[in-house]
Amino acid sequence: MPVQTWSAPLLASLRRTIGLLFGSPLNATLTLAFGAMLTVALPPMLRWLVLDAVLFNPDPAACRAASGACWSFIYAKSGQLLFGIYPVEERWRPALVCLMILALLGWSVRPASWTLRLLRLWIGALALIAWLMGGGLGLGEVPTSAWGGLPVTLILTVVAIGIAFPAGILLALGRRSTMPAVRIAAVIAIESVRGLPLLSILFVASIMLPLFLPEALLPDKFVRALVALTIFAAAYLAEVVRGGLQAIPKGQYEAAAALGLPFWRTQYLVILPQAIRVVIPALANTIIVMIKNTSLVLVVGLFDLISSGKAALADPAWPSPAAETFLFIGAIFFALSFSFARFADFLERRGPAAR
């Protein structure tokens, strides 16, 4: 029997890795091709990102002199990048709002906290957020036109999904209704929204609402974008929920009918809890799409992360490091979406146990 040393498992795994990299002609070719690609691409990238970059030196001249990335710009401008044109001395308010939303999101994704209490918690939190952002009652007033950056992205995502979710459930139930008028109305609403790019819905909301509504009722740009995002999300969530409803066996409806439950109680107590559990991964995907979609509000002139990045870049004192800024903004979106995606995977894996 060969003597076991500490290095044996290490050698074995090394041998396995080499086998995977060069074991067959195909794998060897792949390794060489991808290895060549990475050796060409990675060193210059690394030099630009870290080695030649200006990291913390808050001096624009250092950036002009360096051949690498100018991260000190992000560092120096982080307040403006994250909070846009929100009054500087009041930035603690949007910062607190962001922390609150992120903490609540983190809390909400635990399946153990999915109760009615969570709903009340969110409603209370949203009221608090509206007060913190908008002001009044002791705080200085800040109009929505001065909101900007990350809180805009987060609030739009959370509120749009919060309203769109119940609306989507109603639309999905409407689409499966036995009443033809209800069914046709739901189908037209869902399919016409799903057939359009979100950008066109945002344009329609910003162009048409001023014509549709009397001047007194006209909401500001922020609310108009929120309405467009909500309508869009509701149509997509409706289709996800419909998928869940279709997965519920007929026996469940019959059992509820046998108990004498009326329609809404059947839905609320028996059907929806099961239907939504089936489609949790798809719901998480839709939420990721919504997080990414909020980036589009920049096109209708709202100060989200991208527009506050563009505004920061306009400072003539700095050498306008656009690539770094958009990389930073992309990284924020990536962190939000990627953590949600991992959460969806986690729910998918524990799926059977959830039933």
Binding site: L30, M179, S200, I207, L211, L213, S295
Partner: protein
Amino acid sequence: MLSDARTRSIVIQCALVAAVIGTATLLVNTTFANLQTRGIPIGFDFLTTPSRIVISEAILSYKSRDPYYWAIVVGLANTVFISALVIVFSSVLGLIVGVTRLSSNPLAAGTCRVWVEIARNSPPIVLLIFLYSLWWKVLPPVGEALNPIPGVFASMRGVMVPSVHIDMETAGVALIFLAGLLLLVARTAGALRRFRSRLSWAAAAVLLLGLWVADAGFWTDWPVFAGSNFQGGLELTPELSTILIGLTLYTTGFIAEIVRGGVLSVGPGQWDAGRSVGLSRTQILRLIVIPQMLRVIVPPLNSQYINVVKNSTLAIAVGYPDFLAVMNTIISKSSHSIEGVFIILGVYLALNLTLSSAANWYNRRIAIVER
């Protein structure tokens, strides 16, 4: 009375219809009142008047004295052009990346996985703006243009590619000839059936090659660097190139996942079964695996293609005049916002319906027919 299910259903439906009609009437009335107070005329007559708007680049030829309807067609052509190219490129790349992700090679699978994760978790608009901001930083000036493939040059001013020209008469003659050939082949006996598609493709290729060699009505124009700029070829501006590259990278991430799911959905038992009846690897792939895979991937692929058409509206972020950008200019210039919005809605619905009915037709052809 409301306890009777039929009565209740009628009451609910009447209430819904009344609410819809009521809201619609209210909106239409307010709209007309608003239009009247602002003195905005309504109607589609403006479409034939000269637009005088600027479209910075276009696939079809456009001058600012052309009428509005032509500006709309030009914008639509740009959208269709972007979408078609992105769909083709990302399908090919998505197939490669999706299959490579399943490879046992950790280096190849890992690189492809990073690509997929970045594409799926970043907003496409941020990706486009980021790539656009890189353009002048990464690419050399025109004089030192990169030449990665013969005939393709990349520089700060954009990408030059060989262009293909065909004059209308030749195209007409060629089409009629091809149609006749297809008809002829399609009517020939069953023994020829298996060859017919290959045969007609070959005939088409020979025909085009013949026209090209004879230099009659069909020719290619290669970009050549002369003096201070390129002559000939087709110029893809930095804006257009950014959209094509960005949307392709983005869509590829999604298509790769669909392909991966499709490959995984065909169980290893199918390969065993194929081998047990003595089929070769390519035969198993062509006769057993790919047909089953197509069934799984065609519906989600279709929705990705529709997403490409929708995402092409992001062209506005880098200033490329796609259909929506042109419509936005037209609306602000002509103040015919209601007509403009109807055109926007109609065109996107028509585009998506065309795409999805084509895919549905294909899907019906390949779907399993049960019972």
